[in-house]
């Protein structure tokens, strides 16, 4: 019998290693094939969890927590796993066409991406705090490797900033885990749940604070966002897409898991501050996106802004709907941002430069790409029927139900600001090209995968109900 939980982790580890052994050409096919298998496993898991109505677990080694490590797939984990494979598969097809044969950035892309995906899957499935630390490092180092591969001085510097930020984040998380083990003698989430009450010793509060702060640094929440724009803005397009769409969601998922799980009794104190930082992220990120000159920097700052929405849900978690809004936003942003970076990659390749005001003429030659960019923009702005609209609608509903008017205002303002920077790009692209401009041809695959991702982000809004049911079924919502 195929146990999807363990195979979702072993499969990417296997194809990543084989990709290292066989080189980038065959590595690409291994990656695409492996991801197809992973997607099949994830869909199967979602059906099982949705139908069964409760979480599925796997005790590694047969020992069971707290001696051994437990894997667990509830609605939230399953949703994140689905998101990861759904975004990664088109991006893998995109990447295969994107990297030319002798591109140094493409030489190790496949093994690094395989380990990144394995780390993400392992992170979403783990129910052990120390194991989560190892998965965090796996994801973090893979991301840094991808950002720095084959890069020049600025890219390496961005990778180093990212590395230091991510290491401080996981270091703080590790200290928190150490304190928890000292206090309770176990690091298994399931075992800790009944043990941590509101009368927990001061050390547990410090541990919780450390872990959440470390993870916020890794999620680039304002004011810890400084490392994200250079790293996501400077990396090759498929790498930026993977990072913005998936990697930052992993640490956010972990914050949610801790907030709703072991630290539930301690959580309320920090919720308002978190939402405030989220609001600041939306406003500051959008402002910078409107001002910067380079296209990928614009999209990177848009990530900073959109991540702010995720943190607005924390004061609302006591009511229904807020968690669903957060997950829907993660999905919407993941798909849309991947599409946007993919489209940007096409535009940059075609126009031979990476500035926003150099995009004139792109619309007539690359209509599909511009359409993809526009659709992704629709999701980020929150226009119906996209998934972004559904997410913001649920967020506003939850906020109104609890009288949080400021959150409503911030959400609406964020949508307007997103419109400004999206239309900035579209306007430039629709200008007529100057006579001297060359538009290089771009492989069709790149355009179609970008379009597929963007279309999914919009169409997901129509199927949002099933996602909500999945979340409820696994017992997370």
């Amino acid at each position: 019998m195929i146990d999807p939980l363990a195979w979702l982790i072993l499969l990417p580890l296997a194809w990543a290693t084989l990709a290292f052994l066989l080189g980038p050409g065959r590595g690409a096919w291994l990656g695409i094939g492996g991801l197809a298998g992973q997607l099949w496993l994830a869909v199967g898991l979602a059906q099982k969890v949705g139908a069964g109505g409760r979480a599925i677990g796997h005790s590694v080694g047969g020992w069971g927590a707290p001696l051994g490590i437990d894997l667990a797939a509830d609605g939230l984990s399953t949703a994140m796993l689905l998101l990861t494979q759904i975004v990664a598969l088109p991006l893998a097809i995109y990447a295969r066409a994107y990297f030319k044969a002798d591109d140094p950035a493409g030489l190790y892309f496949w093994p690094l991406t395989g380990f990144l995906l394995a780390g993400l899957n392992a992170l979403f499935l783990s129910a052990d705090l120390f194991n989560l630390y190892v998965t965090l490092e796996l994801v973090g180092l893979a991301a840094v490797g991808l950002v720095s591969a084959g890069g020049g001085a600025q890219q390496i510097a961005a990778a180093l900033r990212y590395l230091f930020a991510t290491l401080i984040g996981s270091g703080a998380y590790l200290l928190g885990v150490a304190l928890i083990y000292g206090a309770y003698g176990t690091v298994s989430i399931g075992t800790l749940l009944p043990l941590i009450t509101a009368e927990a010793p001061r050390l547990v509060w410090i541990a919780g604070g450390l872990m959440v702060l470390g993870l916020m640094l890794k999620t680039a929440l304002f004011p810890f966002h400084f490392w994200l724009p250079p790293a996501h803005g400077g990396a090759p397009a498929p790498v930026s897409a993977l990072l913005s769409a998936l990697v930052v969601k992993a640490s956010f998922y972990l914050i949610l898991r801790l907030w709703l799980g072991p630290f539930a009794a301690l959580a309320d104190t920090a919720a308002s501050l978190t939402a405030l930082l989220g609001a600041a992220a939306i406003l500051w990120g959008s402002y910078r996106a409107i001002r910067v000159q380079r296209l990928k920097m614009l999209i990177a700052y848009s990530t900073v802004a959109q991540l702010g929405y995720l943190f607005l849900i924390f004061p609302l978690l006591s009511g229904a709907g807020a968690l669903q809004a957060g997950v829907m936003q993660a999905f919407a942003h993941g798909l849309a941002k991947a599409a946007m970076f993919a489209a940007a990659g096409v535009l940059i390749k075609a126009t031979g430069q990476d500035r926003v005001d150099g995009l004139a003429g792109a619309a007539e030659r690359l209509p599909l790409t511009l359409f993809a960019f526009g659709l992704a923009g629709v999701t980020l702005m929150g226009l119906p029927p996209s998934a972004g609209f559904l997410a913001k609608w649920q967020l506003i509903e939850a906020a109104l139900a609890q009288g949080q008017w400021l959150i409503v205002a911030v959400v609406l303002a964020g949508g307007l600001l997103a419109a400004v920077y999206v239309f900035r790009v579209l306007r430039q692209a629709f200008l007529l090209a100057p006579a001297s401009r060359d538009i290089w041809p771009v492989p069709r695959t790149l355009e179609w995968t970008a379009f597929a991702l963007a279309a999914m982000s919009v169409l997901l809004g129509l199927r949002g109900l099933e996602l909500m049911q999945l979340l409820r079924a696994g017992g997370a919502a």
């Binding site: 290292f20 047969g62 707290p66 140094p104 690094l112 380990f115 720095s148 591969a149 390496i156 309770y184």
Partner: protein, 218 residues
């Protein structure tokens, strides 16, 4: 100004943490009895090795992945540096290095074997092997490495592949990394042997892929 804030904050944090640690009551859960109780079924006799390779063997699997991943990251960043003619070194030093390296290999094999019943195991053995290779490199007997060819790639990945293969086989048979008690010892030794070999190469590679010999431009 930033300096003052950060240093002050670090100081305050330390005091806060130490104070909180002092008021801690004994932990609710003690894992030592469980570790000892299942030790016979775990396939090894030393509790730390049992935790590392059996109870929490999944952590070890991911950790090897992290190490291999770091090497890949280094390879991705390093262009064709390294390699080139080895620098001339005093032949007496080279002879001593040869003797030392041979002894280190023997120590590594011992450490691998001893891990079952006293402190030791794959990581320690692999580290000693890597140190032997770095020693040979520093005395000019082993040139620095360029981008790895097929054989070196297999050597680097072999340990992890063995671990994955055992994990997959066990998964098909029952559960992930669920060793049948009768064969647990043998399987763990198999995994550790593969790991020792590969870890030696990976850890040495962390040094050797980055090193430059005399002949290269800075």
């Amino acid at each position: 100004m930033k300096r003052v804030v950060v240093v002050g904050g670090a100081f305050a944090f330390t005091l806060l943490l130490v104070a909180a640690m002092r008021e801690l009551a004994p932990a609710a859960i003690d894992l030592r009895p469980s570790v000892a109780a299942h030790l016979a079924a775990s396939g090894v006799e030393h509790p730390v090795t049992a935790v590392l390779l059996n109870y929490r063997g999944y952590d070890t699997l991911l950790e090897i992945a992290v190490l291999l991943l770091a090497l890949l990251g280094i390879l991705a960043v390093t262009r064709d540096q390294g390699g080139g003619a080895p620098r001339p070194v005093d032949p007496l030093l080279q002879m001593l290095a040869r003797i030392a390296a041979t002894l280190m290999i023997v120590v590594a094999i011992y450490l691998l074997w001893a891990g079952a019943f006293r402190p030791g195991g794959a990581f320690q053995a692999g580290a000693v092997l890597a140190a032997a290779m770095v020693l040979l490199h520093l005395t000019g007997l082993l040139p620095g490495w360029r981008q790895p060819g097929v054989r070196l790639r297999w050597g680097l990945a072999a340990g992890f592949l063995v671990f994955l293969a055992v994990a997959a086989a066990l998964l098909l048979a029952g559960g992930l990394l669920t060793y049948p008690p009768a064969h647990a010892g043998a399987l763990i030794l198999l995994i550790e042997s593969g790991l020792t070999f590969s870890l030696g190469l990976i850890l040495a590679g962390l040094f050797l892929f980055l090193s430059r010999d005399e002949g290269d431009a800075p």
